[in-house]
Amino acid sequence: MFRRSEQDKRPQVQIFIDGVAVAARQGDTVSAALLASGVDVRRSTAVSGAPRLPYCMMGVCFDCLITIDGVGNRQGCLVPVAEGMQIEIQKGKREIGQ
């Protein structure tokens, strides 16, 4: 859907999407890194389980909700990637205690 322009010379940062290592760039938001990764990063909604991807990328739509380093329902479009960051795609409703 998206590719990186050749002029992007920022250093690489390794993140993990559901345990799989993916190369991001320093300064990427989690959502941008995911959309650039080529991996299927669709979450499914808590209401009907419908698949979604980020819609606004500016912090207002909450369709980028994601679990980052164990904390659920973060807005991936507002959080910068960090080396070793563990990202889990949210599927459906949350379970109690998770």
Partner: protein
């Protein structure tokens, strides 16, 4: 990495580091007022100057001169004594000018003598069939990724809608070597005639020459279909095609990415939650705060600058930021105001910056069928409520957006109405034969952004706070 505010009290707290907030904070700090600038994003710039200090797009021509103006604003801010905290999400502001802000998972509280809200705009909801499918995004989303991460559309890409941002984005994507297969222009033909009386001001504004050359640049490379009167996205769990009707003819084209845009509207959540009075703007088709000429709202001490004060564009936002800050200086340190540009000069700057706006607002006023959906089209993305659901609720007695919450939970999901509020108001107004002003909007309350219970529980408590809720 994250830092709490250095003080508990400030003369001026500015919320939002876009064009208006950058200008307001620099002006206020230069006049010697203790100034705190809080912003939700990783770096300053807001949306227009997104990633201005960090963009990997190094060829200055690709983003254009209007973008790089932001670098000067950031430089002025950095040269001032303003305290700036990024990644700081303000979740509460009240009439006492008490502010709660979440920074790095912990909340801090500050009090201001004056608050300047510069929370800007967001893209107007574009509720067409299939707009929740993965692969459908806003044009602004694509532009954010382009500016901050040099990402460009790669698959079969369709851009649909209307307004200046749409053409700017298309030009930027093409300059960076990205792909656009088709542009579907939804501008209503009748709008051209309606906008004609305002054409002179527009022709003599800077928008005109820039806009024309950008449209030429794009039209030389991309097929543009004008007069698009119907639009729908389709696919099974992922966007597969876009269909549209133009000139009475329906066409369906395969697509991987659909970028939607029909203008921007004030981001009202924080201002409304603080009790700031808003009115329905029948030209811009959105809620705008009631303000005096200095940006002061109905709540004493709270001013609003930038697009949150009514859409005026980036140049106007910068001037409105300076005006609001100057008014704060006049109120708190009149002696220091003498060093600032005179209010009359600033108001003249604003009139200049707003020239041509009426033409743009009239020409790009979105058509009813793209604002007021029907049938199975989703209105509330968070709670997955359709237009039919809303109309069914009206039929059994829901009178306005707040009653509708009880029927359908619209506006009660994490986005707190940001992506459905305008649609719900207009849909219910139409169904009940009332004006949007009569129908009203969601009652917004803190926290205006979700915070965790753990963060709330960790907030420092006085003995009185504890006694207020503990029995015995």
């Amino acid at each position: 990495m994250t830092v709490a505010p250095r003080r508990e009290d400030y003369d001026v707290v500015v919320i939002g580091a876009g064009p208006a907030g950058l200008a307001a904070a620099a002006t206020s700090a230069e006049a010697g007022l203790t100034t705190l600038l809080l912003d939700e994003n990783i770096g300053p710039g807001g949306q227009v100057f997104r990633a201005i200090s960090s963009t990997p797009v190094t060829d200055r021509n690709q983003l254009g001169a209007d973008y790089w103006v932001g670098a000067d604003l950031v430089q002025s801010l950095r040269a001032s004594s303003a305290e700036v905290i990024p990644r700081a999400t303000v979740w509460s502001l009240d009439r006492n000018l008490d502010i709660a802000v979440s920074i790095g998972g912990a909340s801090a509280f500050v009090k201001a003598k004056r608050v300047i809200l510069a929370t800007g705009a967001l893209e107007r909801p574009f509720p067409i069939p299939g707009w929740t499918l993965p692969g459908v995004m806003t044009a602004g989303a694509a532009q954010t990724m382009l500016k901050s991460s040099a990402l460009v559309p790669d698959g079969r890409t369709v851009i649909a809608g209307q307004g200046p941002l749409l053409w700017l984005l298309a030009a930027q994507i093409l300059r960076l070597g990205g792909r656009i297969d088709r542009i579907l222009d939804t501008t209503e033909r009748g709008n051209y005639l309606a906008a004609l009386p305002h054409a002179f001001a527009f022709l003599t504004s800077p928008y005109f020459a820039k806009g024309l050359s950008m449209m030429r640049e794009v039209k030389a490379k991309v097929q543009v279909v004008s007069g698009v009167a119907e639009l729908a996205a389709a696919g099974d769990g992922q966007l597969a095609s876009v269909s549209y009707v133009a000139g009475g003819r329906r066409e369906t084209i395969p697509a991987d990415l659909l970028l939607l845009h029909q203008g921007v509207v004030p981001n009202v959540n924080l201002a409304m939650s603080a009790g700031v009075e808003h009115r329905w703007d029948d030209l811009q088709l959105c809620w705008s705060p009631v303000l005096d000429a200095s940006g002061n709202s109905s709540v004493a001490g709270i001013a609003i600058a930038g697009d949150g004060a009514g859409i005026g564009g980036a140049n106007a936002a910068v001037v409105r930021g300076r005006i609001a800050a100057r008014a704060a200086v006049d109120a708190l340190a009149p002696a220091a105001a003498a060093r600032l540009p005179a209010m009359a000069t600033l108001r003249a700057d604003l009139a200049k910056a707003e020239r041509g706006r009426l033409f743009l607002d009239t020409l790009f006023r979105p058509a009813p069928q793209f604002r007021i959906p029907s049938g199975d089209t989703i209105v509330c993305r968070c709670e997955e409520v359709t237009a039919k659901d809303v109309l069914d609720s009206v039929a059994i007695g829901a009178t306005g957006p707040n009653q509708l919450k009880a029927y359908r939970r619209t506006g009660m999901g994490p986005c707190q109405g940001r992506l459905c509020g305008l649609t719900v108001t207009e849909l219910m107004a139409q169904a009940r034969g009332k004006s949007p002003q009569e129908i009203g909007y969601y009652r917004l309350r803190a926290p205006v952004k979700p915070i965790t219970l753990a963060e709330l529980a960790a907030v420092p408590k006085s003995e009185a706070d504890v006694k207020a809720v503990v029995r015995g």
